[in-house]
């Protein structure tokens, strides 16, 4: 998994990131500092805003910091899907297509995003802005269909919402995360019937 030739040859955690890394390592006994491996991988990836992945140089650096062999580190980095070893776009659009989202139209959202971005799933746009992936359950089933872009969930999506979100992101405009129909958490959608309504026939004691 060699980086492209343009990848930086060296890596070190920058100020705030170094601070965080130190804090993470301090959470564990000195002999068990390897436990901080996932945190450090994540930090390294966040610091790299160019390609949004963990570079070879970063891997070497983390291996040295945590006194862990390169192979073991590579195993961990390749196991977790949130850690990227290859460059990805600025926005990682992860569309959920597992059962509840699929039933609520997740697949058509993927198709829409593919059309809109001009790429297929697991590809990156040529401007390096978007990477699209089709993922397994992201755990927002009550608000299906949902997708995750970087750290934020976007829920209760319709095709229009997806178009809006992608347009705004591309234009650098702010977007609102969470439910796109202004639902609070996974509360019942207003005026719709639930088991708590009197009309439903269920008795609530």
């Amino acid at each position: 998994m060699p980086d492209s030739k343009t990848a930086p040859k060296s890596f070190s955690f920058r100020a705030a990131f170094a601070e965080r890394a130190k804090k993470e390592i301090a959470k564990y006994p000195p002999k068990r500092k390897q436990s901080a491996v996932l945190a450090l991988l994540d930090l390294a990836q966040r610091q790299n805003t160019e390609t949004n992945c963990v570079t070879d140089a970063a891997m070497e650096n983390i291996a040295k910091i945590l006194d862990i062999s390169r192979m073991r580190l590579e195993e961990i980095a390749s196991f977790y899907t949130m850690i990227h070893r290859k460059p990805i776009g600025k926005y990682h659009v992860q569309c959920c297509t597992t059962t509840p989202c699929m039933l609520r139209g997740g697949d058509s959202l993927v198709a829409l995003a593919e059309k809109k971005l001009g790429i297929r799933a697991n590809e990156t746009t040529s401007d390096g802005l978007f990477t699209l992936s089709r993922v397994e359950c992201i755990g927002a089933c009550a608000n299906a269909p949902a997708m995750q872009i970087n750290d934020d969930f976007y829920e209760d999506l319709s095709e229009k919402h997806v178009e809006n979100i992608l347009d705004n992101l591309a234009a650098g405009k702010p977007v609102t995360a969470g439910s796109q129909i202004k639902r609070r958490g996974a509360e019942p959608v207003q005026h719709s019937e639930t088991s708590l309504n009197k009309r439903s026939g269920y008795k609530v004691s």
Binding site: E60, M71, E74, S78, F79
Partner: protein, 724 residues
């Protein structure tokens, strides 16, 4: 490969096999474990608590199919082939390799539902396994093939695309066809645990998982063992690729001579050619491992061979001659030299040929012979002073270790793996070393390169107070290697180490921690039969040869000493490879390599082992003892033997202890210092590792293309490592 059931839970203090006298047996037995009553297939049994269900079944003689489980590796439990039913327990089949036995447990190993479950596991394993057995080198010795036949479904029902995986680079020894991999992770566990390198790993997850290296050769002297461990054809031998099928080869059992471990090997040959060398199980020596040099240098047996006698003509060119002429010539020169003859034996010589050579020389009235061509100095008359007294199997019990002038990883990879095992099991916390710092795969503090540091240790004046640490240990060990012994002050270091061993209470009735780590397979044998005589036997011999005091020098398979010293001698080379010494020889008498003769070798712990001939020697080459017998006849000093058996009978009559096979020689501790008791005169030069290349250290491995490829690969690895 034959495997004996052994328990994973108690490998630490396995007793040496029978044949060891009770006095020398380790006093402590492993603590008695409580027994547990279990029922296997309706039959009640008592087993040691702590065994797994799979091990208990093996003890009962019931075979449980498995892919990932291996006696000598940690338990992974990921192939799911070893399913059994247990009650009380969950209602579904359980993986027996990772399930400990319990009191009153009832185990079923062969119910119809289990057969079905195994069929299911097999079918899933085969879904992504290619149907390429006809072109797979594992064919005929493949666990997957065998178990698919015994436990599998009789047809496939999978019609989708199979997954395919790209090949990986694992160095010049291991060929990979990763589509065949079933992800048992044996290779990874072997590399991590036994070899002590982190070079193999499993990347990705789920269906995308791949066993791989980071595109570099495996940096271990034991890497070839992953080929044996791989239950499928994913990792196979690169040099042996497409050479033969396992059922076509003739299998001969022999002893390895690439180091002094005396690893038990099986030589596979076809049409008179050695195709490959595999390890044979010997719990007390090499377990089931083999070093890469022992396994892969066999292609050197077919190259650079001396297959007929040569002699120099008037123009000083070597020209082929007949045996008759060669022997006449040699006999005439020896006759003329009277007592002014000398002999040097190399590191791979068998006991019989050294004995015959010694007898030939003593019959002529010469006692100038030695087998320590590196110039190692120690007293060959004190057996406890030159043996690996602790014995290889007992290394795992060591809890303190001092290495002096050795890199066990390269001198004897099998011994090093045992030391690593001692460390892994927690007994050995820290090793200490004197000499060039090297990566030995376990924590080792290299204290100093100065031999004077040993004096400090002996008088407790060192910072670390090592003597106290060693004395406090229950099973302290000292390993003294040839990097120290081959120095000019070798004998002083040897005596000093003996003193340290005594001071640190290493030598007791129940434990002897003083060890010499020999490099050559002939080393101990030469001492036993008196081929090595004095403390510093070789250097004076070399000097007298250089001075011209020796008229005829017989060099038997020895190529690694200062050959310029032979300039004034008439040099007779008895050997099998056109290596260094053959270049300067006046007469070459071609002999048999270790695969081509029956012979006795005594390993570093004093274990007498006999090897068998696998193939005949090439051309007109003959076993050394035959050459020496013919020569003796020409000289009219006919020895009392006409065949190898008679030679052995004479040898055993003189040295009755050597008649007992596969039993370490008894050595009663004798102080190394009592004769002279003089001051230790140590030189100031540091103790450095002289051996630069593990892979090419003798005529056979120097002729091997595989070993040359390994050398290049390692050089490349080192270069990259230094760059980074």
């Amino acid at each position: 490969m034959s495997k004996e059931p052994s328990s994973q839970k108690l490998p630490s203090s396995k007793l040496p096999s029978e044949g060891v006298s009770s006095k020398e047996l380790p006093k402590e037995l492993p603590p008695e474990l409580p027994m547990v009553k279990i029922t296997i297939d309706g039959e009640e049994r008592e087993c040691e608590a702590g065994l797994t269900v799979l091990q208990a079944c093996e003890e009962a003689g019931i075979e449980i199919p498995r892919f990932c489980y291996h006696d000598r590796l940690s338990i992974a439990g990921n192939c799911r082939m070893c399913l059994v039913e247990v009650s009380p327990g969950p209602p579904k089949p359980q993986a027996s390799c990772a399930l400990p036995i319990n009191e009153g447990m009832s185990i079923t190993t062969n119910s119809p539902s289990l057969q079905n479950a195994r069929k299911g596991v097999m079918e899933f394993l085969l879904i992504n396994h290619p149907l390429d057995c006809p072109i797979c080198d594992q064919g005929g010795e493949c666990d997957l093939q065998d178990q698919a036949l015994a436990y599998g479904f009789n047809r496939g029902r999978f019609s989708e695309n199979k997954r395919a995986v790209g090949e990986k680079y694992m160095g010049p020894l291991i060929k990979t066809v990763m589509t065949r991999c079933i992800h048992c992770t044996r290779c990874i566990r072997f590399a991590n645990e036994v070899a002590g390198v982190d070079d193999i790993g499993m990347l990705g997850r789920g269906e995308d998982v791949e066993i791989t290296t980071l595109e570099k050769a495996i940096d271990s002297e034991l890497s070839g063992n992953v080929i044996d461990l791989c239950p499928v054809g994913a990792l196979t031998s690169k040099p042996y690729a497409f050479r033969a099928r396992s059922w076509e080869v003739q299998k001969s059992e022999s002893i390895d001579v690439m180091d002094a471990v005396g690893s038990n090997i099986r030589i596979d040959s076809k049409n008179g050619k050695v195709l490959r060398v595999l390890p044979r199980l010997h719990e007390d020596v090499n377990e089931e491992w083999l070093s890469d040099k022992a396994r892969f240098s066999c292609d050197g047996l077919a190259r650079q061979r001396l297959d007929r006698p040569y002699a120099r003509n008037e123009k000083k060119q070597l020209v082929p001659i007949s045996w008759q002429v060669a022997l006449d010539l040699v006999a005439e020169r020896i006759e003329r030299a009277k007592t002014r003859i000398a002999a040097v034996a190399g590191e791979q010589c068998d006991l019989e040929s050294m004995y015959a050579l010694k007898k030939l020389l003593t019959a002529r009235g010469s006692n100038k012979f030695d087998a320590r061509q590196g110039g190692a100095q120690f007293d060959p008359s004190i057996r406890s002073g030159y043996l690996f007294n602790t014995r290889i199997a007992n290394i795992t019990r060591a809890d303190a270790l001092l290495i002096v002038g050795a890199n066990p990883r390269e001198d004897a990879p099998i011994v090093n793996a045992r030391i690593r095992q001692a460390w892994l099991q927690g007994g050995l916390q820290q090793a200490y070393g004197i000499g060039t710092a090297c990566d030995v795969t376990y924590p080792c503090r290299w204290l100093s390169e100065q031999p004077q540091h040993l004096l400090k240790i002996a008088s407790s004046k060192d910072k670390e107070r090592l003597l106290a640490t060693l004395s406090a240990a229950r099973h302290p060990m000292l390993i003294l290697g040839y990097d120290a012994l081959e120095r000019k002050d070798g004998s002083d270091i040897w005596r000093l180490c003996g003193k340290i061993a005594e001071k640190a209470n290493m030598v007791r009735e129940d434990w002897n921690g003083f060890n010499i780590l020999h490099r050559g397979a002939s080393a101990v044998g030469a001492c036993e039969i008196g081929f090595n005589q004095r403390v510093d036997g070789f250097m004076p011999l070399l000097i007298s040869m250089a001075k011209g005091e020796v008229e005829v020098a017989i060099i038997m398979q020895a190529d690694d000493f200062d050959l310029d010293s032979l300039a004034k001698c008439f040099t007779i080379y008895i050997g099998h490879h056109g290596d260094r010494a053959a270049q300067v020889a006046d007469v070459i008498l071609p002999s048999a390599a270790y695969t081509e003769k029956s012979g006795i070798w005594i390993n570093m712990e004093g274990r007498v082992q006999m090897g068998c001939a696998a193939v005949p020697p090439p051309g007109e080459a003959q076993a050394e003892w035959r050459i020496l017998r013919a020569l003796a006849e020409k000289l009219d000093t006919i020895p009392p033997w006409n065949n190898l058996q008679e030679l052995r009978t004479v040898l055993w009559k003189e040295h009755p202890e050597l008649a007992e096979q596969d039993r370490p020689l008894r050595a009663v501790w004798q102080s190394l210092d009592d004769k002279s008791n003089k001051e230790f005169s140590l030189h100031v030069d540091p103790i450095v590792t002289k051996r630069e290349n593990y892979y090419m250290s003798d005529p056979i491995s120097r002729a091997s293309e595989t070993m040359s490829a390994c050398t290049r690969a390692r050089r490349e690895l080192r270069r990259k490592k230094n760059a980074a």
